[in-house]
Amino acid sequence: MAAVNQPEVSDKVAVEIRKMNKWFGTFHVLRDIDLTVYQGERIVIAGPSGSGKSTLIRCINALEEHQKGSITVDGTLLSNDVKNIDRIRSEVGMVFQHFNLFPHLTILENCTLAPIWVRKTPKREAEDTAMHFLTKVKIPEQADKYPGQLSGGQQQRVAIARSLCMKPRIMLFDEPTSALDPEMISEVLDTMIELAEEGMTMCCVTHEMGFARKVANRVIFMDEGQIVEQNEPEEFFNNPKSERTKMFLSQILGH
């Protein structure tokens, strides 16, 4: 697989996670997570199910609350203050496994709602931006339809466009292709690759190892709520260090 042109990674920190711990009830899901993401970096988080990788990125925009340690997003320390959380969320885009488009709004309204009400962008301008990003994900002609009328791949691309309309500085992807038919995975991955080439800071939880090889600057392997191994993709896939990583890779790349 040909490597895509990799934009420069700056030395400015986008997300800094220090000694972060999280429990679901008494279950210790995340244990002492230390992670620094630099601006322009593309990180892929892999690991078996239940390893806490989704929970980790959901902590970054406070969809899950962490109990110990600190998370700093774009220079702002995540606290319990509602306004602080809302501000961080408006800077961090998120794409979900099940798209989570708003079914009662048209595609265009899905994309303009947050810019109009959170960013206070004038309606006309928000619509222009929305059409720009819908064109970028190659579905401008669907703008007046409702999500229920689109295919899964199209819906996920709309979800990406909806996040981009907020002009986020960081994008989080929570298994964006796991709910898609095989034929539709590549159209979503193409969109994500394009985004990566433009230098967007991205944290992707995904099982698409081809995507990880092609796009990521760093692959993080998690198991049992902790980071087991992280490395550049070449090293990670060709020369994994930990036994657990070797086993995981042999299982998912075995076929």
């Binding site: 809302d86 408006s90 885009g93």
Partner: protein
Amino acid sequence: MSQADTSYVRKHMLAESPPPAAETGVLKWLRENLFSSPANALLTIVSIYVVYQLIVASAPWLVNSVWVSPSLSACREILDGEVGACFAVLTERWNQLLFGFKYPTALYWRPGLAFILLFVCAAPLLFFKFIPRKFMVLTGLYPFVAYWLIWGGTIFVPLFALLGLLAGAYVYKKTLFASAGLAVIAGFTAALIVWLLTSYMIRDLEYTLALQPVPSRDLGGFMINLMLGVTCISLSIPFGILLALGRQSSMPIIKWICVVFIEFIRGVPLITLLFVANVVLGYFLPPGTSFDLILRVIIMITMFASAYIAEVIRGGLAALPKGQYEAADSLGLDYAQSMQFIILPQAMKISIPGIVNVAVGLFKDTTLVSVISMFDIVGMIRGPILASSQWNGVYWELFGFAAVLFFITCYGISQYSQWLERQLQTDHR
């Protein structure tokens, strides 16, 4: 399967083609729907027989009906021993059935006009997809106009009430940036101040721009049922939304207030609440204050209905996938925005059948006010009309008429709600 069959390459893809034209004809319809099996054929024949018997039994009653007659005995004379309905009671007491027996005859046009305006002013809300938003101003003004038309008195009473609300809304909007809780309190205070100040001015304005006043106890007939139904249903929906959201709140005090309110009101029969409104509430009010009975009843029925509607909406909120909340959150929408634009529109859509169920039930329950000696349509029938010497004994015609009125209204509500559900459907179109 032979060896030759396994290898196959399609030469051309089939084009999309229309479905086969449906067979038509009355006979086919009859065969498929009425006589598809011996058992169904038997059921069809039995049903036809039952319907036939019903028609035969009721036809003479309807055909021979008498529409003009001063009393039941006169009616029987006209019928001369034959079976026949005496609908003359409806024509004779038409106004009483609709407006009660004390509403001034010369002023019937006022509630009549209010009734017509109801449709005009509700239209922008009911058909919000087809009528420009700005016409909703009419909907907002309607309660004040209707109050003035029905009760009369100086126009300044509803005008000042409106002024207070507007002042409250304005202050609420201006203080919202600080905190939502503060804004509610500030808005409420502003409205109270305006009402307090204007209440002093009202005394001097009693006869300026005034319609002839009609006291609450003079209202009656189907008018009361409509007034209570429309007012209580439209008030209980916003209160129900607030209660449902409050019950989901993460703030324990708000949550428990809502839970206790809902569970208490749902655990008490409506008729008990009406008795409380009628009798018990008087003990708690300072002596000398008279608190309008209709207002008390409206408060009680609204409380009752909002508890039920809150639970219906809670069902709608619970039916939404968690992902909708998360998507709204992840875009940076705050609580009020995500509720207003994302959660409530969807939850309300899911709740439409349940809300309509409560609304229809509530509308019919407004007849319970006859028990606390208000003369709504049932109160009129049981009281002044059946008790009069002319019409003592006319049951079928009167209660049948009340049933028809309620059926028309409730069927209308039901049809509208089904139409609305189709309008809001956004998938598979």
